[in-house]
C-alpha cells in the first residue's frame, strides 16, 4: 500500500515521542489474525493492529481504505481523513497534536 513507507518512517522517527500508530485491519474477506500477522511481518509493518471481524467497521463505517484518524492524548478526535491524505498533511497534523500533548505533559509535571 502506498501509505506504508510513510507509516514505517513515522513509527521510526517518532519513537521517542508520545505517539502510537494503531491499525484496524478490516475484515473484507474474513481474514483471521494469522493472515494479518503474515502480511504485517512480510511488509515490516512494525505496529499493532486490531483484526476486525466486522464489529469495528459496523460502528466506525470507514468511508474507504485507508481512512485515518488522529486522536490526541485524551482520546479526542483532532483530524480525520477518508481516503489517503498526503504524507505532508499527516505530518503537519501530527506535529501540532504531539506538540500540544508535550506541552500539556510539561505543565502537569510542574
Amino acid at each position: 500500500m502506498a501509505q506504508w513507507p510513510h507509516e514505517r518512517s513515522l513509527v521510526k522517527n517518532l519513537k521517542d515521542k508520545p505517539f502510537a500508530l494503531i491499525g484496524v485491519h478490516l475484515n473484507n474477506s474474513g481474514d483471521d489474525a494469522s493472515v494479518v500477522r503474515k502480511v504485517m511481518a512480510k511488509e515490516q509493518l512494525n505496529w499493532r493492529s486490531f483484526v476486525d471481524k466486522g464489529a469495528i467497521a459496523d460502528k466506525w463505517k470507514p468511508a474507504g481504505t485507508p481512512s485515518f484518524y488522529i486522536l490526541d492524548a485524551k482520546g479526542v478526535i483532532r483530524h480525520k481523513w477518508a481516503g489517503a491524505p498526503s504524507a505532508k498533511a499527516i505530518d503537519m497534523a501530527l506535529e501540532n497534536v504531539i506538540h500540544d500533548a508535550e506541552q500539556e505533559a510539561k505543565l502537569l509535571s510542574k
Binding site: M1, Q3, E7, L10, K17, P18, F19, A20, L21, I22, G23, V24, H25, L26, N28, D31, A33, V35, V36, R37, V39, M40, R48, S49, F50, V51, D52, K53, A55, I56, A57, K59, W60, K61, P62, T65, P66, S67, F68, Y69, I70, L71, D72, A73, K74, G75, V76, I77, R78, H79, K80, W81, P85, S86, A89, I90, L94, V97, I98, A101
Partner: protein
C-alpha cells in the same frame, strides 16, 4: 434542414445501418451541396416510408434511448475500431440531453417523468456534475418540480442528487420535502437533504487540504457560491443535518432506500442512525469510541490503553 430529428429516430431504431452517419460527416457535406441535399431528402423520405408504422411515439423513443443506455457500455467495449468506439462514446455522452429533450417535447406524456429521472441519474453519476443555469440537470430538476412535484416517484431522484453540491440540488430537496405528500418521498427527501448538507460540509472541510481541487470546485460549482459556502455558519448547517437525520429515523425509519450508485439499500433508520453515530461520536472534537479486540498476535487490547499518547488510527486492508 429538418433532418436531424428524423436521423435520430432512425438511429435509435436501426443503429447499425443508419445512413445518417454518412450524411453527418463534414467531408460529405462539402461535396456538391445541392445534389446532396436533394439526395438526402429523398433518402430520408424513403427511409421513413419504409417503416411500416407512424413516427415513433414518445414511449418508443424512450425505450430506444433506454436500450442505448443499457447496451452502450458493452457496445463500446465491443467496438471494432477506435473510431467506432469514439462515435458510441459521443452518443452516450449526449444521452442525458436526449432524455431531457424527449421530456421537454412531450411534457404531458407519461414517459416525460421516466425520461427526466434518466437525465438526473446520468448527470449525477459523478461528484462534479455539470450544473448552472440552463444546464440539463437544472432544466430536468425544474421540470420535475413544475410538473411532477406530487409524484410518488421522486424519492429516488432525491438520492441521485445527494452528492451534487450545487445549490439547485439543495433547492430541489427542500421543495420536495415541503410539497410532496407521499410519506416515502418525504422520508427520502428528508434523509437525502441531511446527507447532502453533510457531504457538502465534509467536502468543504477537506478543500483546504486539496489546493489542486479548488480550481475545479470554482469551475464546476461557481467561485462565488463556493466562497459563500466557506463563510457560512458551519455549526448551524451541521445542526440542521443532525436534526434532519433524527427526523428521518423517527418519522420514516421503515422506508426502504432505493439502490443507486451511492447506496446499497437498507432502511432509512439504518442509514440515519449510522450517520448520527458519525456526527455524535466520530466527528472532530468528539472522544473516540472505545475499540476492543485482538491484535495480529491474538492478544486482546483496547484503544484507550494508549491514552496519554497521540494515536494515528489507520483503517486498512491487506491488499
Amino acid at each position: 434542414m429538418m433532418l436531424p430529428d428524423t436521423a435520430l429516430g432512425l438511429r435509435a431504431a436501426t443503429p447499425a445501418r443508419s445512413p445518417s452517419r454518412w450524411f453527418g460527416s463534414r467531408a460529405a457535406r462539402r461535396v456538391g451541396k445541392g445534389v446532396f441535399t436533394l439526395l438526402l431528402c429523398t433518402f430520408a423520405a424513403l427511409a421513413q416510408d419504409a417503416r411500416p408504422d407512424k413516427p415513433a411515439t414518445p414511449a418508443e423513443k424512450y425505450q430506444a434511448l433506454l436500450k442505448e443506455r443499457e447496451d452502450g457500455p458493452e457496445a463500446s467495449s465491443n467496438a471494432k475500431t477506435a473510431e467506432e468506439r469514439k462515435q458510441i462514446q459521443a452518443r452516450l455522452g449526449k444521452l442525458h440531453l436526449k432524455f431531457l429533450e424527449l421530456a421537454e417535447q412531450n411534457p404531458t406524456d407519461p414517459v416525460a417523468l421516466d425520461a427526466l429521472l434518466q437525465t438526473v441519474a446520468i448527470v449525477n453519476g459523478t461528484a462534479f456534475p455539470e450544473g448552472g443555469k440552463d444546464s440539463p440537470d437544472e432544466r430536468a430538476l425544474s421540470l420535475l418540480l413544475r410538473d411532477h412535484d406530487r409524484s410518488d416517484r421522486l424519492g429516488i431522484v432525491c438520492q441521485y442528487v445527494l452528492f451534487g453540491f450545487h445549490k439547485s440540488h439543495e433547492d430541489f430537496l427542500r421543495a420536495v420535502l415541503e410539497k410532496n405528500s407521499h410519506a416515502e418521498v418525504q422520508g427520502l427527501a428528508c434523509l437525502s437533504l441531511a446527507q447532502y448538507l453533510n457531504n457538502r460540509l465534509q467536502r468543504l472541510e477537506l478543500l483546504p487540504d486539496q489546493p489542486e481541487q479548488v480550481e475545479r470546485y470554482h469551475r464546476v460549482f461557481g467561485k462565488e457560491y463556493v466562497e459563500r459556502l466557506q463563510r457560512q455558519d458551519r455549526a448551524a448547517v451541521a445542526r440542521e443535518a443532525e436534526a434532519l437525520f433524527e427526523r428521518a429515523a423517527e418519522k420514516y425509519g421503515d422506508v426502504k432506500i432505493p439502490v443507486t450508485y451511492y447506496g446499497s439499500g437498507g432502511t432509512i433508520r439504518e442509514k440515519a442512525e449510522g450517520e448520527l453515530f458519525q456526527i455524535r461520536h466520530l466527528a472532530v472534537g468528539k472522544v473516540a469510541p472505545e475499540i476492543e479486540g485482538e491484535d495480529q498476535d491474538g492478544k486482546r487490547f483496547k484503544l484507550s490503553d494508549y491514552r496519554g499518547k497521540v494515536v494515528l488510527l489507520d483503517f486498512w486492508y491487506r491488499l
